[in-house]
């Protein structure tokens, strides 16, 4: 049994230590946002956040993440209460088929957590490992900027509220 800390909750997982994190998330925990794309760590569809960093879960065996906090897209927000990154992607209609988008959002989220106001170039460089064949790239770029804006204004409103 391995204890896996996902979206703030501890899960007891009965899986071999070499099982890819992605399989555990999807098959054991029914967290299906992260997708299986290439299985080789080359397309980005399986990206989740581990310990604050964007990680390719299809090439990350369970034993590497034991004890580290894992966040999936489900952990950021829901349909009822979307996180800024989810709201921004919806508002910009940044998905076409959507297969790559969960991974894109997770890496963008990790970027925004360490860089609140990234430039176009920084976003492009960061998302370079992600493949999207539909071609919504420009919308994705806009969505990340929008998310950055939403997150900054959310921070500001929190400050305002606490100041009141």
């Amino acid at each position: 049994m391995t204890t896996l800390k996902v979206n703030g909750r501890d899960h007891q997982v009965d899986a071999e230590p070499d099982t890819p994190l992605l399989y555990v998330l999807r098959d054991d925990l029914a967290l299906n946002a992260a997708k299986f794309g290439c299985g080789l760590g080359q397309c980005g569809a399986c990206t989740v956040i581990v310990d604050g960093k964007a990680v390719l879960s299809c090439v990350t065996p369970l034993l590497l993440v034991e004890g580290k906090p894992v966040t999936t897209l489900e952990g950021l927000g829901s349909i009822e209460t979307p996180a800024p990154i989810q709201r921004a992607f919806t508002e910009e209609q940044a998905a076409q088929c959507g297969y790559c988008i969960a991974g894109m959002m997770m890496r963008a989220q990790a970027l925004l957590q360490k860089n609140a106001k990234p430039t176009d170039d920084e976003i492009r460089a960061e998302l370079a490992p992600h493949l999207c064949r539909c071609g919504t790239h420009m919308r994705i770029l806009r969505a990340v900027h929008r998310a950055a804006h939403l997150m900054r204004s959310a921070d500001a409103s929190t400050v305002q509220r606490s100041a009141q």
Binding site: P17, K53, V55, L56, P61, L62, L63, L64, A125
Partner: protein, 453 residues
């Protein structure tokens, strides 16, 4: 005249004489600027030859910044003395070499002096380029002067005083720069001599593969004994080569031509750019380089040859059934690495069997750390070797455990000293390297495939 005054006069005379001597050593005249020559004024065959020579000289690697324009400079070269930025060698009139006559270009190649008389730092390897023939310099000049001009001012170097004073370079040259054209060895054939001319000159292999002394000059007594490039270790490529299987001329040819060899693995780091460039030059030049380098490697001693054969036999046999994974490193290898490195998928797309890995048998852990952290990036638009990097998913401690295990199981060598520090340093420097390096532009794959649409 009192004794004091005599002494003062002698000192003054010495100071003046010293200043005159220093001036003579350090001062170089400017060469008159020209109007940038029209690209069509250069012979196309000469330009084509220049393109091949520039590929052999690997000029683009240092003179192009990742994401920047070709040959526009600005690439940071880390040295023990500070960071030196490469210059713009496009024919831009103001910030490039557009106003350089051929004589100024040749002088820069021969003796590291810019058109305006300023000494150039020896990160520009003129200690090798001094051997390039007039004819080849002319072709290189024609090639560079017909590139797209790019307006990009040079970045200031980050060097401490007094190294930021270019007059210091004149002293360095006095000590270490040996002029002279390549003298063919009459006891060797033309191919060997051609190879020696290229390797010691334009290809400047020793700039990375020869260790340097405290003043940053190559140690002549340790030619090709292993050096470094951009925080990668450049392996010894003489008799001290750490490759588990000794290199042969044929293996070397395939490696330099296609970027990988079945008995040694895939070129990566700065060498990936070298082989990418070499995939564009005539077979005969690569063959000449190989002929010369095979001599530098030397025929392997009997015991080394036997060891190589054992390693090959081991690599070709089916992998031993996984032993019980008792250590952290063994578990990580089994879970994260073996899936690709122990399959029968052949190189260059499968992972190399790690018993063949030079990185693991090398005295320096840097390359192994670099590759675990950053993986092998795919080349855009072409089939190429790949490996995911584990920088985000493995902690330094986990990588250290993995490297120690790989070193002992596959490298069969005593543990590397200070492996955790190597990993921490690699984490820092690789981030910079991946941002600044252009990376291989052409997949060094089968040349037969390359000209297909």
């Amino acid at each position: 005249m009192s004794g004091t005054r005599v002494f003062a006069s002698v000192v003054a005379a010495l100071v003046v004489a010293g200043a005159v001597a220093a001036f003579a050593v350090a001062w170089r005249p400017a060469i008159a600027a020209i109007d940038p020559p029209a690209p069509q004024s250069f012979d196309t065959a000469l330009v084509k030859r220049g393109r091949e020579l520039a590929a052999i000289g690997n000029c683009s690697t240092c003179h192009t910044l990742g994401g920047g324009k070709d040959f526009a400079g600005g690439f940071p070269v880390p040295t023990p003395f500070g960071t030196i930025y490469s210059s713009n060698i496009t024919p831009d009139a103001e910030t490039g070499i557009g106003r350089w006559p051929e004589a100024a270009f040749r002088r820069a190649m021969r003796s590291g002096v810019a058109r305006d008389g300023q000494h150039l730092y020896p990160t520009f390897p003129y200690d090798h380029f001094t051997y390039v023939s007039d004819e080849d310099d002319r072709a290189l000049y024609a090639f560079l002067m017909t590139r797209q001009p790019v307006h990009a001012a040079a970045r200031g170097n980050q060097l401490p005083f007094p190294l930021d004073q270019r007059v210091v370079i004149a002293g360095w040259k006095l000590l270490f720069l040996r002029h002279g054209t390549y003298q063919p060895d009459p006891t060797r054939n033309a191919e060997w001599n051609r190879g020696a001319y290229l390797v010691e000159g334009l290809a400047h292999c020793g700039a990375c593969h020869t260790p340097r002394n405290a003043l940053g000059a190559e140690r002549a007594s340790a030619s090709f004994a292993g050096g470094e490039a951009d925080n990668w270790s450049a392996y010894a490529i003489n008799a001290q080569s750490p490759a588990p299987v000794p290199w042969t001329a044929d293996a070397l040819f395939g490696y330099l031509r296609h970027g990988w060899d079945g008995d040694h693995g895939t070129a990566r780091g700065p060498m990936a750019e070298v082989v990418s460039n070499l995939s564009e030059v005539p077979d005969s030049d690569v063959r000449a380089i190989v002929t010369y380098m095979a001599g530098v490697f030397g025929a392997p001693a009997e015991d080394r040859k036997r060891r190589g054969e054992e390693v090959l036999a081991q690599a070709r046999s089916s992998p031993a059934p996984a032993s019980p994974t008792t250590t952290e490193g063994a578990s990580i290898y089994a879970a994260a690495c073996a899936g690709c490195h122990e399959t029968s998928r052949p190189l260059p797309y499968g992972g190399v069997n790690l018993v063949l890995s030079t990185a693991l048998s090398s005295p320096d852990a840097r390359n192994a750390a670099n590759i675990v952290l950053s993986g092998v990036r795919p080349v855009e638009g072409e089939r190429s070797p790949i490996m995911p990097g584990f920088a985000a998913s493995m902690s330094d401690k986990q990588i250290a455990a993995l490297l120690n295990y790989l070193r002992s199981r596959f490298g069969k060598q005593p543990e590397w000293a200070g492996v955790e520090k190597t990993i921490a340093d690699a984490r820092r420097t690789q981030t910079v390297f991946l941002q600044t390096s252009v990376g291989p532009e052409n997949a060094p794959a089968d040349a037969n495939q390359r000209d297909k649409p």
